[in-house]
Amino acid sequence: MLVSKAARRYATALLELAQEHDSVDQTLKDILYIQSTLEGSRDLVLFLKSPIIKPDKKVAVLEEIFGDHVGDLVHKFITLIARKNRENVIDEIVAAFVKIYNEYAGIISAEIFVAQELTDEQRARVTKKLEEVTGKKVNISTKVQPELKGGMAVKIADTVIDGTVKHKLEQLEDIFLHTATE
């Protein structure tokens, strides 16, 4: 997700404050809770982004949904965002926070593209292998794409390690099409 500069600043501020208060884990838990709520409800995201709905109404809704479920710090944080009229970028702030937290905790996330869902054992093996290679803690998320036919591609940041059957076939096609016969 493309994160705006403003969102990054709010997220950085929140993480720094959490570190001061020694409540990083609690804050992360709360933020992840907000993230899953937002991901689960597209209506909520659209509602927050809508320019027609009045800010105080949005604040009231946010208060109602998250007020009782998050810790003191995050609760205050939501109030601050609302007061600054930034509730429309709350999804970006949440994403930025997760990203900054991962950097802080030395975690990298890897996307795994496979043709079939991995078994738990396979997931564990992939994670272990990637952790060995990168020397960092790896958080993996899988995406099932049947058109890959087989094999696996791993995407870490912008780099793709592609070992899928689909890619191999494309390479083969390229070799055959672009080799001139004398």
Partner: protein, 536 residues
């Protein structure tokens, strides 16, 4: 292409499959955020370099071709790329792949005689480029000071007015500037055709004609003219016609320079014509504005001067010392083993002015970059003085030292005569009573101007130019009427071509006209003049 037998097919397949390993492929990607007007903004590609080529494999069409692009803007949270192909095949969310290849072109001897696009793809329908090619970057730093030499060898254009008054040397940058329809391209094409004479010699000049933003029909016509004159054999045309996207027109001249550098750095001589740089500047302005770079004067971006200066700096005369030349800066690894000294790259950029306005932004820039300019004038053109070179405003700052000896001697008086004629011409319009010496000067000037006229695609070898100018210098032409000069020229050249063939070739070789041969020439001229005046 010969027929492929079935067993050959399977042999090829087996060979290729055996080289097909099972290793995973590693590459860097980004995602298209927005696309339009030949520009795409990409998220990701965090390690990409400026000027790098990227591929968009998702835009594949039925032929398996996909759009490629070049990275121009590296910003905090996105990358701006320019697309070389049709941007309507690209959609939001498409994958963009790095190639780790800074924009380059495949260069080799096989390019001679071909028409290619700025990425090196042949577009003349004659199949793939044959022979060995090496990959050279489009953008390369110009050779440093210690690898250069002053201009000292002439580059003959075959045009009397240029070779005598505004001489061009190998390694020089001489601007051809003028309004539309003043014969700028003809001067350039004549120069290419005239290089035919160098082909059999030790130092042939290879030519590259870069057409930027021209009509497709014009380019086809130029190719036809070159072919008819046997000049296509040693010429490459880089075509970026008006129909291609702005990025292609922008990189066209750089592709021409890269091809020229291949000849220059392998110890040979090349001539590159950029026709024209004003259209390249317009293309660069277009994509700079789309990339949201701030506009400056005439809405050109701030670095439009650097665009042309870095391109034209690549024209150079390389030092005639292999050891020093091999230490030259920024030689690509692919070229390193072949580098030799003594080569040159001459550039003839073309600029089109609007209504003779040379003080517009781009013309002043390029005038200040180049080593002189050939100014073509609409009024002269309409008066029938063709090539319509304005001798007063045209200069060549370094070419003089490259001129052949006798030409240099003759051109001194020629310049003076013409300057005096121009001054008197304006003055003579007012009064009718002129003294005899003034009338003589006017008479001579008129004939000199007539003698410097020349038809298109009829370049004249330098020894013939010297012979003609010698006769003019002696004042023999004053006996003829202005209309008879053309007849005299053809008859005189025909006669000396037959009578003094060996002396003429010696003159071509040494460049010095000795007194004895000079007298012979005067004799022939006197008899030809006698014939012409007696028949009328």
């Amino acid at each position: 292409m010969s027929q492929v037998r079935p067993d050959e097919v399977s042999a090829i397949l087996r060979k290729q499959l055996s080289g097909f390993d099972n290793e995973a492929d590693i590459y860097d990607v980004g995602t298209v955020l927005e696309v339009g007007d030949g520009i795409a903004r990409v998220y990701g590609l965090s390690k990409v370099q400026a000027g790098e080529l990227v591929e968009l494999p998702d835009s594949k069409d039925e032929n398996g071709d996909f759009v490629t692009g070049m990275v121009l803007n590296l910003e905090e949270d996105n990358v701006g790329i320019v697309l070389f192909g049709a941007s309507d095949a690209v959609e939001e969310g498409h994958i963009v792949k790095r190639t780790k290849d800074i924009a380059s072109i495949n260069v080799g001897e096989g390019l001679l005689g071909r028409v290619i696009d700025p990425l090196g793809v042949p577009i003349d329908g004659d199949g793939a480029i044959s022979g060995k090619t090496i990959r050279l970057p489009l953008e390369r730093k110009a050779p440093g000071v210690i690898y250069r030499e002053p201009v000292k060898e002439p580059l003959q254009t075959g045009l009397k007015a240029i070779d005598s008054l505004i001489p061009i040397g190998r390694g020089q940058r001489e601007l051809i500037i003028g309004d539309r329809q003043t014969g700028k391209t003809s001067v350039a094409i004549d120069t290419i055709i005239n290089q035919k004479a160098t082909q059999g010699t030790e130092k042939p000049v290879y030519c590259i004609y870069v057409a930027v933003g021209q009509k497709g029909s014009t380019i086809a016509n130029i190719r036809k003219v070159l072919e008819e004159n046997g000049a296509m054999e040693y010429t490459t045309i880089v075509a970026a016609p008006a129909s291609v996207s702005a990025p292609m027109r922008y990189i066209g001249p750089f592709a021409g320079a890269a091809i020229g550098e291949y000849f220059r750095d392998t110890g040979r001589h090349a001539l590159v014509i950029y026709d024209d740089l004003s259209k390249q500047a317009v293309a660069y302005r277009e994509l700079s504005l789309l990339l949201k770079r701030p506009p400056g004067r005439e809405a050109y971006p701030g670095d439009v001067f650097y665009l042309h200066s870095r391109l034209l700096e690549r024209a150079a005369k390389i030092i005639n010392d292999d050891k020093v030349a091999q230490a030259m800066n920024n030689i690509p690894d692919t070229l390193k083993s072949q580098v030799k000294g003594g080569g040159s790259l001459t550039a003839l950029p073309v600029i089109e002015t609007q209504a003779g306005d040379v003080s517009a932004y781009i013309p002043t820039n390029v005038i200040s970059i180049t080593d002189g300019q050939i100014f073509l004038d609409t009024d002269l053109f309409n008066q029938g003085i063709r090539p319509a070179i304005d001798v007063g405003t045209s200069v060549s700052r370094v070419g003089g030292s490259a001129q052949v000896k006798s030409m240099k001697k003759l051109s001194g008086t020629l310049k003076l005569d013409l300057a005096q004629y121009r001054e008197l011409e304006a003055f003579a319009k007012f009064g009718s009573d002129l003294d005899a010496s003034t009338q003589a000067q006017l008479r001579k000037g008129e004939r000199t101007v007539e003698l410097l006229k020349q038809g298109v695609y009829q370049p004249l070898p330098v020894e013939r130019q010297i012979a003609l100018l010698k006769i003019n210098d002696e004042g023999l032409l004053d006996k003829l009427a202005v209309e008879q000069i053309g007849d005299f020229e053809s008859q005189f050249l025909e006669t000396i071509g037959i009578k003094y063939a060996s002396e003429m070739s010696k003159l071509a070789e040494t460049g010095t006209l000795d007194d004895a041969f000079g007298k012979n020439l005067i004799e022939v001229a006197t008899s030809v003049i006698g014939q012409i005046t007696s028949t009328n």
